[in-house]
Symmetry: C2
Subunit: 419 residues, 2 copies
């Protein structure tokens, strides 16, 4: 007898998490003998806890196919981390209660490191409680910090957005530098690792190209060295383009944007690094500057998604279902690089016990000795991930992204659950 | 006998000013009986004053064609406004000196309102001094504030970038709002007019879509009304997306970003409005927020240029040369809208005397009565300008923008000119 499946999106959404959703749903529809209905959690795992399920079987094939070019989380996502068994067993028991009520035998969790941990716990709990459930994690994070997998779906598209934007802004500043802006700073995401900032480095095809400096969270900010390098770059090339990771830290290990800008902005949320750096440039060098903060634009930019990323996002979604119907649990499809040039990859299987709570950092040899750029080794790793375009359809000049009906599944547990 | 031509790019560059350059150069090459060599000013009009000319005849047809998909100013631009005859006749005389030395009979100036004024003065001076020169202005400005022409090349592509970005960010925030960001603010350019911010409104196809609020320079900022509207929007739709024009002013007519943030940022340059508004939202409503500042990314974003804009940018470049070889001077090709639905346009001719020093403002009836959105009339005007995509070629995942050789023309005047 087929059993139903549950799918949820977790954490910050990306340009291609819906591509993975399409991979899960379309593949599930190919296995009617194993999988009955596929329910999605409205707003992620919260939808499971509150029994707020979406019946994806009511969505047309065309609507599901349209997820392949629609950014964001089509069913809603959430930032909600389940605690450990000892601290909040009630939440896990509630999940099993909801799953039982809806005869859910497959659990697909689409997220980053935290949700890999949750997914592992759920697979363990189902064993403990004797409730048969196959829990498969579907990797997703723009932070690119999951272990084992070569890269994380979502990252390649942010990487492409940042590299393209820096190339374009670099051309702009170069053409204006004679009488106007000489220093341009783009702040990008990356709280703990510099993967996204590093991707900006791909825009520099040859000596002198933008970006001229990259500021990584992995390299403590040295103001004097920074100003000296900016000044030297302006004197040599006429202008200086900088990619700065929001997670840049001072010598004391504080986020620069908090340590330096708390009074100025009146709050401690990250995202104010670029104006802070601009102020440092102005005070130290008095060059005319401009700055940009890409924020959500970078992770939502489906219009300039990497085709490689789109293909990988779909492949992990499809593989998750194939692993489940193949009887596996507590695993995650992982991207395995089989060649650099030409780039080739396939899908392998990672044990969640090896994924949960492990953060993949940028290797030190991916950052140049002076700490201000990427190495050739880093470039060889990153370059294939942004290759290819995969444009959404447009209507009247705007991308025709889909909004699903998201029809609720009738509740069966007969009780509320407070989160 | 053919005479040489001079072309210069002026002011802030755009995603499509090089398209106009290609239109000028390719068309000039079709009139060898009228036009000999076409020289470009290196860094705009400064190149003419300092006799730093670029010989575009040394660029291949393929390189010139590649300008059609390359953002920025291929020859360099500058922010340098020539003063009036009375205040600085020396500069005008110097221009004529350089033009004489290089037998320049055609002057093509690609810019906004200030350069239209300069172009007019040069056409007048050539008459006064008895030096035959046909001066044609080629319209360009993302500010969309030139009169007579229906729109300004460069604007449509910024408009598309902002509309696409807001649609994407809107989807992102909508899917996260349950537990995370509820208010998102995108700051866009537009110091004196809200055209670019208005374009963000195109992303809202139906009630409830992002953007929910647009803040225009034309509408004085009313903090209480703003907070009330943000709060009501979050309560009704779960989230609120805001497009804010950098030129937003307080009741006293000061730029909000200067009046409010001078102490905080330590400088008065515009571009810090979004974090300021975010702080107002936090203090007043305590919603979790994010903000982005697009800055140069918006005007350099050739990767998502409007095909309509690209076609118009080329058409005005081509028309400029045709007007010149047709004997005209002191004029500007203007885009004439001949139909809204379906959109149609052709190229007319505007007298520079009617263009110079006239700024086209957003009509009041383009802004909704409450001051927070665009009207249907505005939508009907803006919508066609973002229609169509015109993707650049990509190599290794990055747009293959061209860099010209920009070979200098030997100097002939025998004297330096200090600017």
């Amino acid at each position: 007898m087929p059993r139903n499946a549950f799918y949820a999106q977790s954490g910050g959404v990306t340009a291609v998490i819906n591509v993975s959703a399409a991979g899960v749903i379309e593949t599930a529809r190919q296995y009617p003998q194993h999988i009955g209905k596929l329910y999605a959690g409205r707003n992620g795992i919260i939808g499971a806890l509150t029994e707020d399920l979406i019946d994806t079987s009511l969505e047309s094939d065309a609507a599901i196919a349209a997820l392949k070019y629609t950014p964001s989380g089509a069913f809603g996502s959430c930032r909600y981390k389940l605690k450990g068994f000892d601290k909040n067993l009630a939440e896990y028991e509630r999940l099993i209660e909801v799953f039982k009520a809806h005869d859910i035998g497959y659990f697909f969790y689409n997220g980053g490191g935290d949700s890999a941990d949750t997914c592992l716990k759920i697979s363990q709990l189902s064993e403990k409680l004797g409730y048969p459930l196959q829990a498969i994690h579907v990797p997703k994070t723009i932070d690119n910090d999951l272990p084992i997998t070569d890269c994380c779906p979502g990252f390649g598209s942010v990487a492409k957005y940042v590299a393209v934007s820096i190339r374009e802004a670099g051309y702009d500043v170069a053409s204006m530098a004679k009488t106007s802006t000489k220093v341009f700073i783009l702040e990008v995401m990356g709280r703990h690792a510099g993967w996204i900032a590093a991707a900006g480095g791909l825009a520099a095809a040859k000596e002198g190209d933008a970006p001229h400096l990259i500021l990584f969270p992995e390299v403590k900010f040295d103001q004097a060295a920074f100003l000296a390098r900016v000044d030297a770059t302006v004197k040599k090339h006429g202008y200086c383009v900088i990619v700065a990771s929001e997670g840049l830290q001072n010598e004391a290990g504080q986020f620069l944007s908090e340590a330096g800008a708390k009074d100025a902005f009146g709050h401690a949320q990250l995202g104010g690094l670029a104006p802070l750096l601009a102020g440092i440039v102005k005070d130290g060098l008095n060059y005319k500057y401009h700055w940009a903060v890409a924020d959500y634009l970078q992770r939502a930019a489906r219009h300039i998604a990497s085709r490689t990323d789109v293909e990988q996002a779909y492949a992990v979604g499809r593989a998750a279902v194939e692993l489940a119907v193949g009887g596996q649990s507590g695993v995650m499809p992982a991207i395995v690089r089989t060649g650099d040039a030409p780039y080739s990859w396939n899908i392998g299987v990672a044990q969640l016990s090896q994924v949960a709570n492990v953060e993949k950092k940028m290797p030190r040899d991916f950052i140049s000795d002076d700490g201000f750029h990427i190495t050739e080794k880093c470039r060889a790793y990153l370059a294939p991930l942004i290759v290819g375009e995969d444009y959404p359809p447009y209507v009247d000049g705007l991308p025709a992204y889909v909004q699903l009906q998201n029809t609720a599944v009738p509740k069966l547990t007969g009780r509320e659950f407070k989160i």
